[in-house]
């Protein structure tokens, strides 16, 4: 068992608010340069670039988890992390059935689908920045049903966070962890936000630009870089745990 450095919240050029330089391949290359071993590509309400990132990652020797940052009907952002592209695409199918609207690139930004060779495959025209009609409770349940993990995004931020939108963390919501934004350290969070007590805290970059990648990471003590091991680390089972931020 050893520590693996992870940044599990990286947006690609598919997210309207992310920089167009965030191609799957560029994300993989930058992550390697920054010494990361596990990354996750989590675009808003879509997983259409995760396959390309996973293929680029396996070519270059970095473990890429397929993910998504889902916007619930309460406008709470939650990271969904999976093992296989298939699981992520099944979640995407459900999201798409509950996502209304068409993107306006001039207002929200371009949504580029790219392949692992840095080529543009097309543009997604859904309103990915919008809220799905799925409640947070349903989101968490569906992600779990597919075998994934849920981590509430940037819980300390006023916008699109569980504490900002709901004011508290519902006690029956089975979140696997909470992410802190780059503005707050886990130590400070425990003092400033008593609501986070009892949850495993992680920090990731929420990168929208290549430069952001790896600026905030979490190190996990794992046997191998996969989702099952990360789940154990979040639960502090069999020696797996978070060992640093």
């Amino acid at each position: 068992m050893r520590a693996f450095k992870a940044d599990l919240h990286i947006h690609s050029c598919l997210s309207p608010c992310a920089d167009l330089d965030m191609s799957p391949r560029a994300i993989v290359e930058t992550s390697l340069e920054r010494g990361l071993e596990i990354i996750a590509v989590c675009d808003h309400n879509s997983a259409e670039n995760v396959g390309a990132a996973m293929r680029a990652g396996s070519q270059r020797g970095i473990h890429v988890l397929p993910g998504m940052e889902i916007n619930s009907s309460e406008e709470v952002h939650t990271l969904a992390l999976f093992d296989s592209e298939m699981q992520a695409l099944k979640m995407q199918e459900l999201i798409y059935r509950h996502l209304r609207g068409t993107n306006r690139p001039e207002l929200f930004g371009d949504q580029v689908v790219a392949n692992e060779f840095d080529e543009v495959e097309g543009f997604n025209d859904r309103l990915l920045i919008g809220a799905t009609q799925l409640g947070l409770d349903r989101v968490v349940k569906e992600v779990h049903r597919l075998g994934g993990l849920t981590i509430a995004s940037h819980v300390d931020r006023p916008s699109f966070s569980i504490l900002g939108q709901l004011g508290f963390i519902p006690p029956d919501l089975e979140l696997d962890g909470l992410e802190l934004s780059p503005h707050l350290s886990p130590g400070a969070a425990k003092v400033k936000l008593p609501e986070v007590g009892g949850f495993t805290l992680v920090t990731f970059s929420d990168a929208h630009f290549l430069d952001d990648i790896g600026q905030r990471t979490t190190s996990f003590m794992l046997e191998a870089p996969n989702l099952a091991e990360i789940r154990m680390a979040l639960r502090e089972e069999s020696g797996r745990k978070v060992v640093g931020h």
Binding site: S73, E74, E75, G101, R104, L107, F108, I129, G130, A131, P158, S159, F160
Partner: protein
């Protein structure tokens, strides 16, 4: 017709950004803190009362052709929200008061009033 500028004076609102949009006409008001709800329901020409300060509020205002945004309860806009508002000419006005009171004042001025 009442312009944003006049509302700003009458409701004693602080101008945070988007000054060039102060001559927009105000025909209605809308209270809402879910962007999806505002996107679906706010009327063009409305002044929008909200606690949300993320830059996407400006995109929502442009999309719905709103007259302006009023951040209530002493909320302040993020830096990139202000930059976006300047760029799009969407006035962002600030008040320490809550939505209910501000909306009441706006209604009192006859804005968006429905005669029953």
């Amino acid at each position: 017709m009442i312009k944003v500028e006049e509302i700003q004076r009458r409701l004693q609102l602080e101008i945070a950004a988007g000054e060039k949009g102060l001559d927009k006409e105000v025909t209605s008001g809308y209270c809402g803190d879910l962007l999806s709800d505002v996107m679906a329901n706010a009327e063009p020409g409305a002044l929008w009362f909200t606690v949300q300060s993320h830059q996407n509020i400006v995109a929502v205002a442009v999309l719905r052709e709103l007259a302006g945004i009023i951040l209530v309860n002493g909320r302040v806009p993020d830096e990139d929200t202000k930059a976006k508002a300047e760029e799009e000419g969407i006035p962002i006005l600030l008040s320490p008061r809550p939505s209910y009171r501000l909306a009441g004042q706006l209604y009192g001025l006859g804005i968006g009033r429905i005669e029953e």
